[in-house]
Amino acid sequence: MGKPGPMNRESPLRHFGVLEWLGILAILSGAVGPVSLLGLWSFTHAWFWPDLLPREWSLRAWSYLFSPDAGVGEALATSLFIALLVAFLALFIAWPAARVVAGAWFRGKRALLFLLLLPIIAPPLASTMGMHALFLRFGLADTLVGVVLAHLVPSVPYATMVLTGSFSRFEIGFEEQARTLGASRLQVWRHVTVPAMRPGMAVAAAFAFLISWSQYLTTLIIGGGRVQTLPLTLVAFQRSGDEAVAAALSLIFLAPAVIILLVVGRLMITVNRKDDQ
């Protein structure tokens, strides 16, 4: 949008039919509704039936969440630590695999793709229960390490898929050219490969982070309640029935996802535009 040209000179809004307006309304309310209404709830105080708006607004829920006895700070730190570690590890593990998958066809590639797709779509229940039995035997159950391993299961395939996309657009020949021109392996990596792959790496890491960040069931089973992440705390507050606190915590929980999306979304748009040219 925005570029003046023969297509855009007229206001595009005039051409919209009823259906388009309905569609715009639908997607805007889907995007804005949850966040704004959760925001509204989080500031309510003394909101008696059947008032449409509360009699009083207050920061009670927020100040409670940030107080030490709520335990939210620890959960937040645990969640952040796990998710960052998972993003970092997933990137490392997925990188070489994505290079292979983006390359030439080979025997067994179809099976490999199927294998990579499964943890993304198949429910985590059975695999997590099995992992739990394994981890119990090796002393990894109820530990941070165990939870990180469990979060890697859906994150690595995701990161592999994203990086595969980037590698298949990446001209491997550039690396060879740089090598024949005398660049060392490290130089090729630093000046050729990484700059070309940077958007893909950012998207892959962001996805892996978000997958780990929003895990509930795997953390519950493998962490056994000992590893208290943000989603576990959120469910506990929701169960306790304090809706203002649950709403505020939901906002903290969804904030990284939406922020990352807005950043990464722009990145993906620029990546796609480059492809179109």
């Binding site: 889907g30 290079r99 294998l115 059975a126 299961v153 898929m161 929003s214 989603p231 748009i269």
Partner: protein
Amino acid sequence: MLGPALGVVGGLFVGGVGVALAQSLGMLSPIGEVGPSWQHYLAILSAREFRVSLGWTIWLAGVATMIAAVMGLALALALRRLAKRSGLVNLVLQIPLAIPHLAMAVFLMTTLGPGGLLARLVYQVGLIGVAGDFPEMINDRWGVGIVLAYLLKELPFVTIMLLALLAREGRELEEQAQVLGASPWQRLRYVLLPILAPAALSSSLMVFAFIVGAYETPYLLGQTWPALLPVLAQQRYMDADLAQRPGAIAMAVILSFLTTLLVWLYLKVAERWSGAERPLLF
């Protein structure tokens, strides 16, 4: 090169499923059974609780998927011109996708619950007299809250998949049809829908497979009985009575088997439709 990734997916995921399978067959047992035997499968299959829960899960996933597919088709068609002009449409559609299921569930509870915003609105308008008259939509008999939660998340997903396809293939064909004198209805029937049908089918399979196995949404928004299968399995697994575990794991294995079948179907559809060696993902 593939080693580390295969270690995670093969070792942890496939290994995990393998151990789960063994335990559901009474092997590697924490309570000292010696399998293999089908007894846990026979036991849950003969229990009414499991059968009702399985049927309820498939029904609810089917309903949510159908609504998401039909509305997604309508939304993609309505927004196709706008989406071509502006990447913002995709960005806006992705916001609900980014919101974690748990947060979405909390949103629905505060909005549709008995004292929620919608109930207040309906009361103020005069449609109901007392709070109790507001129909239950959360933890309700019909799974309304669950279906709505999934719609908020999956409808944008289906729409994005369809819009991506329309952006690639729709425009030229549609214009050609227009030039050749096809009416809007004819363009929809003979051009757009045939382009979209395979993508609608494959994304529906993904949505269905996801809903069948997902835990958080029905855990918060569902009723206690009948519970959706993942919730039932997890409840049994966490039971203090360890003898419940193999049965719970057997349920999880059945769920995995079901969804694996659906993923395989998805790949078949996706391959056929794109003709590419690599299936289209997200």
